[in-house]
Subunit: 177 residues, 2 copies
Amino acid sequence: MQTISQLARRFGLSRSALLYYGRIDLLQPSGRSAANYRLYNTADERRLAQICLYRQAGLPLQEIRSLLHSSDQQSQILTRRLAQLNQEMALLREQSRVILRLLKHRRMLRQTRVLDKQRWVEILAATGLSEEDMHRWHVEFERMSPEAHGDFLEGLGISKEEVSAIRRWSREQGAKR
Amino acid sequence: MQTISQLARRFGLSRSALLYYGRIDLLQPSGRSAANYRLYNTADERRLAQICLYRQAGLPLQEIRSLLHSSDQQSQILTRRLAQLNQEMALLREQSRVILRLLKHRRMLRQTRVLDKQRWVEILAATGLSEEDMHRWHVEFERMSPEAHGDFLEGLGISKEEVSAIRRWSREQGAKR
DNA sequence: CATACGGTAACGTTGCGTGACCGTAC
DNA sequence: CGTACGGTCACGCAACGTTACCGTAT
């Protein structure tokens, strides 16, 4: 049996977070003390561990609640969240590109953490890959992980149209052999 | 001179968004009609275009306001946002990894858009790269874009420790030659 | 006169943080 | 008796969306 702040500390959360979880009926203490203090037992603790795990996956609390209620659709919800994560990453990549364009325009671009097409090609070239090798790389990437291939190219700042063209070409080449 | 809904449509925004921009003093119409309707002129339109541009970069409205007030620290703010974007992407990658772990554990993993280390190595191997080529790739990547190299490896689901080790090794190899 | 637009104002969303004000444990 | 904890409101945050209710343009 632990009080609210003890439990919060053990999980790296705040008291107010646990209060909130109680308010939205996500995690209720299994008991109360004589002075009306919340008392959490080990079952509550296990439930909170699950909650934290799902929070690390970025699931909203409402979905976590329904997951803990019945874990039937777990993989469905997780897969949906995975797709959403890809969308969010695509959005962030787009925002990066907008910023890079603005900074480039002001000649303020020097060394960024963001990889673009030119730099990627430079790296592959310095590794010793020929144009033909790079073409083969596209073909294999498209064959083995088509979605990830598209995401990766977009991440290099390549336009959707060009990405489509590259992928189409890769599929055609892959079919030929 | 355009009314609020006309302007909103032209920029793909909602009426309520423009009302909100007015409330927080981000974009005020330069005039009002006899019936107290908001009237936006071309200067307002240009300002809104700037706002939309910065919104595409994911900047909060408050920062956009201060940017439009005096554009002195523009590149500073944009660079800061770029760093923040990298953090956010790292967070999303981590969330993806948590989900993949959960799904893998349930043997529900089949084809995802997310690239992991194994698949990446498979792709490079199918492209025809030997182990030595892959090593050289690390070295060049580290030499040409060290930060992006780390981000990329973490994106493959590799632990921070292993990423550090790989990068350290890459730097050493790069120094030898 | 209908209806499509304009105005203001207030509340809802998410996941808590913060503060007030009060009782309790040590 | 101090102070570190507990309790319950209630409000604030970002960026709007969504009513509601009323006036205006056509």
